[in-house]
Subunit: 444 residues, 2 copies
């Protein structure tokens, strides 16, 4: 189990000496992290989480998942940002982006409370019609607008469909351990609750109950997921020069300092689509502050070689690519020979698509590199739970080191409040009245 940093395709873009020259700063970032002296050091619970987690709660998560698998057709996961992206990313990476169309002995999983769109809510209510529904509501506070609205709706929906008592059994709340609106409600109603730890921020929370309960409900082995993360923690905790995670953090920082503005995360596996989104939150929210940061973007290839491929090959040279090379598919598919060979594909006969896909990846890496795009390659074995757990920890740690290298607090997100304040004022929320008139004047 590993994620290997392959810097071969950075030749011509970065010199090896640059790594050496940056290394004292990497060491300093490492020290800030390990000595808990850096900005945001209240949020370092993720560092030792893979070994230092609540085993009793972990066991309750598995029991709850078993129950949900038995009595539920549709699990509605209510959460926004870090409170749904990690779970969804893992479920689709390990199982399939078509999980809801292929799941058999596990519930379908739909996500609510991550948008205010009435269309999304109406559609989901239609989908739930006639099905046995359970809800996992995930919110540290319980007051975030999007999930709070969705939960108000689904709580009432369940109470009307199956009665107050049964609804209470079908609602699982992942929230603060002791305080807040959702915790109070959960205690009053008697929901089973799980904990969003105080020292793990939303975008780092996938290996807490926030991610683990929905993931377990999809039938994924959460022990393997944690074991993979634990292996990464073991492997990546020393600041030596062959720490692949730190090499990656250094490379992306060096490319930023050389003027690259964008990191494009690339995968050749559609099931990785939501992992791309999880990555974008992790790095975008951690680095994008004080006017700084690489803008994270993503593509799925070869799909997007037929949309963004032209830009990546030959457009403005403002990005580098980080290619996640997943060596082994769930199951291969061998191209068969065809007697007529009208499509001219017989040169592929006998090859597995995994191999063809791999050649597409290699060919593209060389083409883009020759087109002026620095290429970082991260090599991993598969998207099985353990390998994915390793990758998650790899990225989390790389992100922390990257933030300190950039000179920002990688664990806060002050900018996320700005839109909320304006929205509340425009909606006339109590306490925000004074801003309303000024904002409306700006809009009119």
């Amino acid at each position: 189990m590993s994620v290997k940093f392959n810097g071969k395709y950075l030749e011509g873009f970065l010199r090896e000496e640059e790594f050496a020259q940056l290394w004292p700063q990497v060491q300093s970032a490492h020290d800030q992290l390990m000595n808990r002296t850096g900005a945001g050091n209240d949020y370092l619970g993720w560092v030792d989480l893979p070994v230092n987690y609540d085993k009793q709660e972990f066991s309750r998560i598995k029991q709850a998942a078993e129950r949900i698998m038995q009595d539920t057709d549709i699990l509605v996961v209510i959460g926004i940002g870090g409170s749904y992206l990690g779970a969804r990313a893992v479920i689709e990476a390990v199982k399939s982006i078509q999980y809801n169309s292929i799941c058999k002995n596990t519930p379908q999983i739909f996500y609510a409370g991550n948008t205010i769109s009435p269309n999304a809510l109406n559609d989901l209510l239609a989908i739930c019609e006639g099905k046995r529904v359970s809800v996992n509501v995930i919110s540290k506070s319980g007051t975030t607008t999007e999930p709070a609205i969705a939960f108000r709706v689904f709580k009432k929906y369940l109470e009307q469909k199956c009665g107050v008592e049964e609804a209470r059994r079908r609602i699982y709340a992942t929230t603060d351990a002791s305080k807040g609106t959702l915790k109070e409600l959960a205690d009053a109603e008697g929901y089973e609750t799980f904990v969003v730890p105080d020292d793990v921020g939303g975008r780092y929370s996938v290996l807490t109950a926030v991610g683990l309960l929905p993931i377990a409900c999809s039938g994924i082995d959460i022990d393997a997921l944690m074991a993979g993360a634990a292996a990464a923690r073991e492997k990546l905790s020393d600041c030596d020069k062959d720490n692949d995670c730190y090499r990656y953090a250094a490379a992306r920082n060096l490319l930023y300092r050389r003027g690259k503005s964008i990191e494009t995360l690339v995968s050749y596996e559609p099931n990785f689509t939501m992992m791309n989104e999880w990555f974008k939150q992790l790095f975008g929210e951690s680095e994008g502050k004080d006017g700084k940061g690489l803008m994270p973007t993503s593509v799925i290839c070869s799909t997007d070689l037929h949309s963004m491929g032209q830009f990546l090959q030959d457009g403005a040279r403002i990005m580098f690519e980080t290619v996640v090379d997943i060596c082994r598919p769930v199951k291969d598919f061998v191209v068969e020979a065809d007697a007529a060979n009208r499509d001219g594909l017989n040169f592929l006969a006998g090859l597995g698509l995994a191999e063809v896909n791999r050649k597409a990846m290699q060919g593209t890496i060389l083409a883009h590199r020759d087109g002026g795009v620095p290429e970082i390659v991260l090599e991993m074995d598969s998207l099985e739970a353990a390998d994915l757990g390793y990758l998650i920890y790899f990225f989390e740690r790389a992100c922390a080191i990257s933030g300190y290298l950039l000179g920002v607090n990688p664990f806060n997100q002050p900018g996320v409040e700005s839109y909320k304040k304006n929205m509340f004022a425009l909606l006339g929320k109590p306490g925000y009245e004074s801003e309303k008139a000024a904002l409306e004047a700006k809009l009119s």
Copy 2:
């Protein structure tokens, strides 16, 4: 029916005089387009397509769609890039991103041949098991690797499941009018065929049979879609200063010249997700060449305000946003009062979510603008077929004008070939042998 350019939130970023100073270039771009004197003028079929299309074929498309709706549980659309993105974008925008979970009297629609992943193919074959499947294979040539592989598989699948004769009835080929691998095969087998016109490039092809057949199969009114596009053509064909499409093209070009590198397309409607992807191909492939071009990216809000929101609010100031403001939802959802009001949401009671979502949008526009992000707003009525047809034509035309303003050929995509050449060589495709050793040396 309209798409309005609202430039109010560009104040402080662009001066009105800049528009006036750029306008002679806009006029020149317009003249290149209308006089067919610009680069890529072999590919201007889309300009008059909304009125000048093959009515007989259009009628055949509707008949084929009726037949498919009757005899099909799952329609597999095989195509890559422009040969699937437009159809999928329209279906999900008008119907729902959850189309496959809510469709009732129309077939589920899955997309194949846009990836080489064996996982995607294996999953789709599992999904098709026991269902009545039809296939729409879309390829101008029939030799593009990804769709050609998928079609080889699904042709055999159908022939084995329901016999050669029935398979022939269930395969619909959208391809060249007279030549090429797929056309020859279709004629030999007797598939019903539809035409990919010679003068309409892939990314501009959504309003040809390429997009229209799958769209019609989802039950969308393709007459309304075309009528919307025709209305846009009527409205946007003169180069006067209140042409909203040209104002938009001018604004994005001015922002580029001022140093912005990225255009982030923003919508507050999850059903718009694939329209974002369609937009990214349209603009990225048209502008991203010769080391130039705005890099297109996208977010769905408020979802992504909890992932990319921090970066957009306060990260590197390298982007501007183009917000697609969709005024009316399919159906609203009114927030109800709750006696206990534990979640504190009663200030929203009686409001429709469309209104709440709108305030989120307005609040975010102001917050991001105040954070240093130029905001373009494009206002449209709804995502009904006619309005979407209008928007599609609006973007197509804005893209052509943008390309000429940038000084590139907006209708070619030479960079897309680079990865294919390398891939073919690495795979040992006949005719590419000479490159193989050199590429393998670069990889080892």
